[in-house]
């Protein structure tokens, strides 16, 4: 039972354009969401998070949007850079229990020159 889904296994974007990575979840108890970036042979790197009391959180080029009614979140990267090419995982947890993160299967982003 995949509670966190990333339906696009891969995405290609031109340098300078916007990258939009999507994530859907099924468990309505989730209220804390995170995005991680992973390069080959490295562990995931924390990017940005959002609590369910917000619908948007911004950090530099990265913005995460949360639509609770649709159980959907997205990560926007503007402008996209070649160094952003990596696998992006979204993760979710329940209130106050970030101890157990449930991850999606990842989306491979390739930013082309």
């Amino acid at each position: 039972d995949q509670q966190v889904k990333q339906n696009s296994p891969s995405l290609s974007v031109q340098e300078g354009r916007i990258s939009i990575l999507n994530c859907d979840y099924t468990n309505s108890m989730f209220d804390y969401f995170l995005w991680y970036k992973k390069y080959p042979a490295e562990g995931p790197t924390f990017l940005i998070s959002i609590s369910s009391i917000k619908d948007k959180n911004e950090d530099g080029r990265f913005t995460v949007f949360l639509n609770k009614s649709a159980k959907h979140l997205s990560l926007h990267i503007v402008p996209s850079q070649p160094g952003d090419s990596a696998v992006y995982f979204c993760a979710a947890s329940r209130a106050g229990t970030a101890s157990k993160l449930t991850f999606g299967t990842g989306t491979r982003l390739q930013v082309m020159l």
């Binding site: 562990g43 995982f89 990842g106």
Partner: protein, 112 residues
């Protein structure tokens, strides 16, 4: 500041053997988490240790076990290895059970 470290980087074992993976958290972090990433799958939560105690466990058989030491480092033990245990094992740490988790580079385990 040093990040989460894991050893070894790679490991090859045969079916039925036992393996121990090691993790050192970021200095000051008391919580350590273990995840398994099998080929083509997302990260699956294995275990959470905090202050030396096992706090939560994922949906894995008992042959997956571990411990956390007084210095907050941790070991993951897998007994009676099976082919499907081949995966990347990732360790993460956080300041506490409710904080953002920071990951190590992982240990790639291959079971032949």
């Amino acid at each position: 500041e040093a990040g989460v470290t894991q050893s070894p980087t790679h490991l090859i074992k045969t079916r039925g053997q036992q393996v121990t993976l090691r993790c050192s958290p970021i200095s000051g972090h008391t919580s350590v988490y273990w995840y398994q990433q099998a080929l083509g799958l997302g990260l699956q939560f294995l275990l959470w240790y905090d202050e030396g105690e096992e706090r939560n466990r994922g949906n894995f058989p008992p042959r997956f076990s571990g411990r956390q030491f007084p210095n907050y480092s941790s070991e993951l033990n897998v007994n009676a290895l099976e082919l499907e245990d081949s995966a990347l094992y990732l360790c993460a740490s956080s300041l506490g059970g409710t904080d953002t988790q920071y990951f190590g580079p992982g240990t790639r385990l291959t079971v032949l």
